[in-house]
Amino acid sequence: MKNTMDVLIDEFNDTVGKEKGIIVNVTSISSSATLQEKLIMAANDEPNAPELPDITTLYPNTALMLADKGLLTDIENLFTEEELSRYINRFVEEGRLLNDELFVFPTAKSTEVIFLNMTIYNKFIKDTDASYDDLETFEGIIKTAEKYYKWTDSQTPDIKNDGKAFITYDSVFNVAQTGFQQLADSFIINEELNLNSPSFNRVWNLFYEPAVKGYVANYNGYGSDLMKTGNVVASIGSTAGILFYSPIVTYEDNLTEAVEYLILPYPTFEDGNKVAIQRGGGIGIIKSNKAKENAAGEFLKWFTSPEQNLKFVSSTGYLPVTIDAFNSVMNDESIAKDDNIKKLINTAREMQEQYDFYVPPAFEGFEELQDLYEKEIKETVSLSREEYFKLMEIMDEANAYENVSNGIYDNFINNMR
């Protein structure tokens, strides 16, 4: 994304910027986490904090904090009603904070999908009764994952329990949030986890048991890393991760294999509604003076115009933000030449029509809550898995699991309170 952004900014400076006497100077390029950290430091006037820029990418949580301090401009004032109506409404609405003021302008929106290594999956379904339809629901995915583990385990009959995980979730927290929504429930109520809901057990079961048994990978990084080496076949993650899915799988002995991906809509519970998460940030304009704010507005209009927006989409995997760009996306040359992006946008469009989108709440402490949940559940799985493997040496699979999982759920709930 950094190169795309940089190239687009250069292009703006050379064209529209030059014409209108606007130069956008890049002062910092960094990951979203570092950026949020620096913005918070700057907003709090902390020692060694960088100066606040005139324009920055940001997420609603950071925007909320900056807006609270009166540091953000209401972007609505820089756009006419007609101009704003060209953008996808739910993206714009997500950027309205505090008194309904538009503080985050949509530029980098994403949802979550399933990335599937079709090349390996096809080999797998050829040998088993697994199918593509199974991947529509969470229940189907867990069953498929079990089959895949057993299928891979059977490839080396002399080594027991060396099956491979089928899938990994980039964010277990997002799976939980979305799962709750699909069950018409809320994972977070009053800025706290809804631990008493029966839905909690449903989302727990999507991860704990299959991860302990090795069907789902319990990994702290991104699923795309495991897919690069063929360690998993599927991953549930952000559309913005598309560029991390390499068309080449490299195995441990440096042998490589060209693979093809399939991008599938977000899975749902069998009895759940079609709901997917809507994530991503946008651009905020820091209050400075009218001239700079207007210049920033000009840049935003140019940057999000369908032509530039599609360039950005084609090289990042973020979703188009204007209605025109969404409608013309498949005709765009840069999109058409990238097979994975094309598949991704197709799936995103399909979801756009069939799904409701859930926007996580924005409040201070949201990130901490997310980190805590991820850390706790992954550590719990990790410890259980270690014990499970030890027990498997002395008992069968079912008993081993029964032993390690006994009381774990209640302990987890109590720890999280």
Binding site: K2, I23, V24, N25, G221, D225, N231, S246
Partner: protein, 518 residues
Amino acid sequence: MTFKQNIQFTLRIRLFLFFIVLVVTLLMILIILLLATGNITAGLKESEDFIIKEHSDISVHVSEFYENLSAEAVGLANILSFNIEGRLKAKGLNVNDIKESPALIEEILSNELNQVLIYLNKSKSSGAYIILDATINNRLPDSDKSKAGLYIKNMEPNIVNSTSPTIYMLRGSSNIAYKNLIPLHPEWKMEFNVDNAPYFDLPTSKSFNAKGSISKLYYWSPALLFPETHEELMMCSVPLIDSEGNVFGVCGLDVSSMLFKLSFIPDDSMYQRIICMLTPIKDNIIKTEKSLFSGGYTARTSLSNNELNVTIGNGNLFTYSSEESAYIGYHEYFKFYPEQSTFSNERWALTLMIPQEDVKNYVIHENMKLFYICSFFMAISIVASLILSRYYIKPIYSAINTLKDDPNNDVKTNILEIDDLIKYISSREPIKKNIKESDSNSIILSEFLKNLKTLSPAELAVFNLYAQDYCAKEVADKLFLSINTIKTHTKHIYAKLYIKSKDELLLYVEMLKETGKY
């Protein structure tokens, strides 16, 4: 045949023109003085001073940065060479065994990951790497060009004090990445492809059987697109050499195009499209594809894959030109290596340059400022001339008008010469008038007297009584005549004397009395 027309100007216009000539003359003198002192090209001189000063400032930073990076890369090579040799020795092996025992590779790299991360962090570079002269699978096609190693990228080296630096593994074993929770770069591959890789070939070949200090053996590659990635960078490679002089790979640090761009942003307050460029230079030719750039202006689009010819320009500046574009700027040779270095004959230049059109526009802009100041001064002078000439001539006009109305008025203009003139005119005016008046009156009166003599005695009697201001009835009573007879006489008298009323008659009588002729 010629006609000569006498053009007459008012005194005010003459005065106004005089002032204008004065102002234009002064302006001409000013411009000549500015030309003579060289101030008319202020924009160019100012540009030169700015470019040279900015170059000097950036040069200090770039030198410090690259010197530090070179030293850190040498430090990393020393420590890696020592560590790897030591660990192998402990196993009863030496560096030549790495090639033969691929199973050792992951262990060696895993052990040295920490050093790589330490040096990456403390050098503030954008990447650190080890390339071993070995591969984990020599049964694969082209395995002679595939080298095992580690390449760790810091995606945001420009962020100081970040608590969560964005580290990616660009090359290396995925197992090492998984174990150490290092995400794989989008363009990750397990091994390095060293086909046409100067950053591997040159330091290893030139260091073959080298003994002694490796500080003379580090090599800076020109900017390149790292194979099979979109990473544009410069690499500082140092050979890995054991105590016996066996070269078994390279290690080093890199400077990504983004790091360079964000670290050495030139001051764009005077020229927004200023570019800083670090580049190899040979025979006064700069190959921009081998350069790193910084500056708000996107040099990469206009300069990529270009050759720039360097020629001496105005003053101390140089001109950098290609078929498509031309720049004005300044460069100095950049010292990457110590004198005794294997690569000390390679020449680099740190260049600061600006599109030629921008410099031209700036000079024009600066000279236009001078022009506007002169124009403003000119306009003010014209208005002042107009006001002054009006003000100056006002008492004269006023005096003339007063004199026209009353020639005897003793007008004062407070302008000595004009007052003298008025005084002189005043003294001459009444005489002329009296002479003229007396001449014309005596003619009229003579005529009247001559006509008077044509009156009959009866008419004369009536005339005399009118002269004494009697009315017609009183004249009739005095002469015992009827009023009708008197009217007839009066009619004849008026006709003979060419008068129309009794008042006119009385005026003539008065004049005759004044001259004593009646």
